[in-house]
Amino acid sequence: MTNLDHGKFSRATTMFHSLLALTVFVLFFTGYAIAFNTELWWLVELMGGNEGVLSIHRAAGFSLIALTGFWVPYMLLRSSSRSNFRSVLPSPDDARAFLQDVKFALGWADERHPSARQFAGFKADEVPLLSYVGKGVIWIFTVELILLMISGLLIWRKTWLIDFYNSQSVAMAFVAFHGLLGIIMLMGVMFHTFEHGFHPAFYPVEMKAFLPKDMTPNFHGDPDEYETTGIERLRRKPSWRWATNVVAVLVVVGVVSVMMASLEYGGYPVPDTLAFGEGSVLRTIGINAGIFVLLLGLVLSMYGNVLRARYVSRRDQRATGAATDGGEPSETKRSSSEPRSDGGEVSGANRSTSDPRSDGGEVSETNRSAADHGSTDPNDD
């Protein structure tokens, strides 16, 4: 048993995660199409031209606010949700784990902190499911989204803002802040997509984000069979290496290009002057690479939901089959048609060599050697 087998989100959280992703992606696509009109002319055309792009952006913005307005009270009012909320609060152990990981990266420590080694041979009850990295992603996104919502609302009707402050500069300042935060968040979302979609254990999607934990089997078979973590059973898909390399290059090019292109304005990270539409090869590459990774993230998000639907459908079919038999399905029957979390089936004969993964991926024997050679922590990969 490893943390790979653990469910991660509640049923409501998986829904919120998908809806949040959808609204944020729409906000990114429309917002960037407006802000980088020159570089993303093709995206504007795909969305039906300039007319309506801003309306879609603002409609998505209000959807995000409505979604958050529902989600926050939901999290705070339900007792079970409150415990989930407590589990994402930073702890002293997170600080220690962060410091040790920094030391490890600098060669001053022999190993990473156990809290950051979910996949490195530890069993689920030995390390926290949520490391400081996961908590950091949650809190960074939370703060960014709140600030984007506030600044977005403030620049929504600029005439009100100008009248209130009796200054046009304030409107421009909030516009610059909103755009700058959008750039920073774009980099974060690119990293998030890469981190969870291209992790060797989860590629191409981390199903834990889409399959509620009450539907995620903790064990794929007899739990007593697993005396080890099971990490050695994980093998990568043949396409993982080149797909990861391609997306990694896009993420790096996207992040670096956007940051470097910002230097052109002067006064980095806050530009001296707000100037759009001047065009830049570097910025064109960076923004388009970023948008491509976002698009990939949206596709993967939809694919995750398709896998979830397939899994649920297969599980329902199995339950119906047992009922028509008039009793419980036999152990033989169960083991020969164990559902995978993507809805696929794994034959009994295959189970010893191809353990089902939560994303349904099945991997070649050659990749097993990676685990055998001690490279059991995919984060070190």
Partner: protein, 220 residues
């Protein structure tokens, strides 16, 4: 042709002589009549500042010291319209290139590119951008502002050597039209000072031409 219109077409500038403006509204009427603008669309507006009189809010809310001291500082009326700036801030901030500085010097709105984001409204220091459709349909619901509209400099009139309607109609020749040098000379001849500070003058005329006005000031 009005005394204020010295040359038209390529390279022209529009600039106010605030000491001549009497807030009669003639330019506003001429613009509306010429271009048949709807009631809520004012491509030119006249702002009158009563010096020493407290404003309703903001920084000017309690600055009545001069009046309390018995002084009579007077008032200044400023025709607020698009001056077709050399370094137009609206062009810089427009994310969709809907605002473009044309080769002949006019700052033109390309309506098919405008998304109604109102960045130009925030960027323009002279209050030129107008959003006459901001109360209509989806623009009102989403607050997009609709398509931006502003002074065109009466480009069509200028192409046939006529001055802008506002300048031609102005009874006191308070709206000057011509090259930067012509405007600077005219102001000097009248003994008038440019209303704007150095930074605004560089926005309107560019750093080089703005010096024409600075030289005049220094000489005086």
């Amino acid at each position: 042709m009005s005394q204020g219109v010295m040359s038209t077409g390529e390279g022209m500038r529009i600039f106010p002589d605030v000491e001549a403006c009497i807030d009669c509204g003639g330019c506003v009427v001429a613009c509306k009549r010429t271009w048949d603008r709807e009631i809520q669309n004012q491509r030119i507006d006249i702002t009158t500042m009563a010096e020493g009189v407290a404003g309703p809010q903001g920084e000017n809310a309690d600055k009545t010291g001069r009046l309390e001291a018995g002084e009579n500082p007077g008032e200044t009326s400023l025709p607020m319209q698009c001056y077709h700036c050399e370094n137009a801030p609206c062009v810089s901030v427009c994310p969709t290139n809907a605002l473009q500085k044309e080769d002949d010097g006019f700052v033109a709105v390309h309506e098919d590119l405008c998304v109604g984001c109102q960045y130009c409204l925030s960027g323009c220091p002279f209050g030129a951008p107008q959003f006459p459709d901001s109360d209509d349909g989806s623009a009102q619901i989403f607050g997009t502002g609709g398509i931006m509209d502003k002074c065109t400099g009466c480009r069509e009139r200028q192409e046939v050597q006529k001055g802008p309607a506002c300048a031609e109609e102005c009874a006191t020749d308070a709206i000057l039209v011509g090259g930067a040098g012509e405007i600077a000379d005219e102001l000097e001849q009248r003994g008038s000072q440019p209303f704007f500070n150095d930074e605004a003058m560089e926005v309107i005329f560019g750093a080089e031409d703005a010096q024409l006005f600075q030289t005049d000031q220094q000489e005086q």
